[in-house]
């Protein structure tokens, strides 16, 4: 009797001590795959270069992606709940703000710059018009904490998520524990945004031999390769560099562009070359949204370029073009609209 109970006690103790050792371990919140997650893959469109190693330490999962999607559409990330990411990044506008030169944020304030479309972010090495953000994971910190955008602190956001019964289970599904911290939130958002790939425009179908250009598009493509492709090279239609296209300085915004980050006078008025994919869905244009149409942008290149010390050498004499060429070029740019991307169910509001 004594013997069996000793054995029983001993084995019980063994189990107990295992459990206790577990309890003593600090739950290090290293973001990663939780147990039973469904792996996802970033599909690289044919002809695209390899993406940034964005997911090397943030393994893509269905659960992480879905959490990121919910967060992207979550009003609670903003002070008065009216400005989720999606309020300024609208899917039907390829995740830009349609028809607004500057976007609305908290307390009737405007952003300083035009909200760019969000797609193919996994091929970008820096973010924002001045390249001030060096990693997609940390990009959301800027709008969340800016007083003219979502006007929150990170801690407030985390507290709101912790107090919302829907979130702890979603964090657990994605990252293995119910603990909510900024790293997991940011990695989930990065999974959602990084998966936004747009590579299914008519242009891509033509490249894959599944469609043919019209005569106007074909002619526009030739003009494009000749006059625009140095800065806007296919397949991403940006070379990710910073350039001054000779725009007049807006005296109110007084935006010095890349120089505000590098402090280098040679970077004065330089802005990131934007992708031209989905360009017909993202009006208005330019870093401050000053152009209401593609025609107006092209006219700027033809006759509006102002020469200052940092104006790009390729634009110093403008880009001469006949009216007919302008029309053909516009036809080509329309072939860059990816109509599947802007209705892709994976990226719509989950609510």
């Amino acid at each position: 009797m004594r013997r069996t109970s000793t054995i029983l006690i001993l084995s019980l103790l063994l189990i107990f001590s295992e459990m206790l050792m577990e309890a003593c371990k600090k739950t290090d919140s290293v973001a990663g795959q939780g147990i039973g997650t469904t792996p996802l893959q970033l599909k690289v469109p044919q002809g695209f270069p390899p993406p940034q190693p964005l997911f090397a330490d943030n393994p893509l999962t269905q659960e992480g992606f879905e959490l990121g999607r919910r967060l992207f559409y979550e009003g609670k990330l903003s002070r008065d709940s009216n400005f989720p990411c999606a309020s300024c990044h609208q899917q039907f506008a390829a995740f830009s703000t349609l028809d607004h030169p500057l976007s609305h944020g908290f307390n009737n304030q405007f952003t300083r710059r035009n909200a760019p479309g969000l797609f193919n972010l996994a091929w970008q090495s820096s973010f924002q018009w001045d390249g001030g953000v060096n990693h997609l994971e940390v990009q959301p910190l800027n709008p969340i904490t800016s007083s003219n955008e979502m006007a929150m602190t990170i801690q407030e956001v985390l507290d709101r998520l912790k107090n919302d019964t829907r979130y702890p289970p979603m964090f657990k599904a994605a990252f293995g524990t119910e603990e909510i911290n900024s790293q997991k939130m940011l990695k989930a958002l990065s999974q959602f945004m990084g998966m936004m790939v747009s590579g299914n425009a008519k242009f891509d179908l033509v490249k894959r031999g599944q469609a043919t250009f019209t005569i106007a598009e074909q002619s526009g493509y030739a003009i494009f390769k000749n006059k625009c492709a140095t800065c806007h090279p296919e397949p991403l239609f940006t070379d990710n560099s910073f350039r001054n296209t000779g725009l007049a300085v807006d005296p109110v915004l007084n935006d010095s562009g890349r120089m505000s980050i590098t402090k280098d006078p040679m970077d004065y008025l330089k802005f990131k070359v934007p992708s031209l994919r989905n360009i017909y869905k993202t009006q208005p244009y330019g870093h401050d949204g000053r152009f209401y149409s593609i025609g107006a942008v092209i006219d700027h290149y033809r006759t509006g370029v102002i020469n200052t010390p940092t104006t790009d050498p390729k634009l110093r004499n403008g880009i001469p073009m006949t009216d007919e060429e302008k029309l053909d070029l516009s036809s080509f740019l329309r072939s860059l609209t990816d109509t599947t991307f802007i209705v892709d169910k994976r990226f719509t509001n989950p609510n």
Partner: protein, 256 residues
């Protein structure tokens, strides 16, 4: 039978608590060949322990109070002039004057003899470019710039009657992680009397480090509050403050 049961349950209770104590101890225990150095950072001004919101005078005769003082300490090593060197594995510590528990921490280091300690004030550039971090590097701590992403290596805020900024504030957010604007600074300190120590598993040490805030304003460079109450971007000025914060630290005492 009853006696047995109650006795065995007592044994169970006792043994359980023993195991609890043991298993916790074991989990915290040192790796073989390692021992512990307890670091205690003591912020001071004018030779006395720094108290937030108390009035001090800096070397230029300017009055000031400190409301916020935070700095990153990383890459701690102990070494000597021969080949002995041991580096702490933990990447970074964030020391915050408003949270006294953050000023004390234990570092696991090899059992070696050593006559100096080094650390970096700031955060290695790698962590500045690798996306979302956690722990001491969590952006909730308010030490991460979001518009020009990267860590603030050290932050000093307060008030001074000589400040021309609104409500007499001064704010020094010193950062910049690469190239000509890199504000990480390596500090190497020797010990009082030039002594050396041997770290042994059964003889952990405590190192008390004085952090003299007066030198923030005047040491490598003269940086009166009146000249610039606000520094919030990487650049030449931030580099000068970084040179100064490298001068704040001295080892006051090493205790067994």
């Amino acid at each position: 039978m009853d006696i047995l049961r109650s006795r065995s349950s007592k044994v169970l209770l006792l043994a359980t608590s023993l195991f609890l104590a043991l298993s916790c101890k074991k989990d915290k225990s040192l790796e073989t060949g390692k021992s512990r150095v307890s670091f205690r950072f003591e912020n001071s001004a004018q030779g006395i322990p720094l108290q937030l919101e108390k009035k001090y005078t800096n070397p230029f005769g300017e009055d000031y109070t400190v409301t916020t003082l935070k700095y990153h300490i990383s890459d701690i090593t102990i070494s000597d002039s021969s080949k002995n060197i041991s580096r702490e594995k933990t990447c970074c510590h964030l020391l915050d004057a408003s949270d006294s528990t953050s000023l004390h921490f234990d570092a696991q280091l090899d059992e070696i003899s050593f006559d100096r300690v080094s650390f970096i004030i700031g955060v290695d550039s790698l962590y500045n470019v690798s996306g979302a971090q956690t722990g001491a590097l969590d952006p909730v701590h308010g030490m991460f710039w979001t518009w020009n992403t990267g860590y603030i290596m050290a932050k000093l805020e307060g008030e001074s009657s000589v400040s021309s900024a609104p409500v007499s504030r001064f704010q020094y957010h010193i950062g910049g992680y690469a190239g000509s604007v890199a504000t990480q600074r390596k500090v190497t300190l020797t010990f009082p009397g030039g002594r050396s120590y041997s770290l042994k598993a059964d003889q952990p040490l405590t190192m008390i480090i004085d952090v003299n805030i007066s030198k923030w304003f005047r040491s490598a460079h003269d940086l009166p509050i009146a000249s610039q109450p606000l520094v919030m971007t990487p650049g030449p000025l931030a580099m000068q403050y970084a040179d100064n914060y490298a001068c704040l630290f001295t080892v006051k005492e090493v205790q067994p």
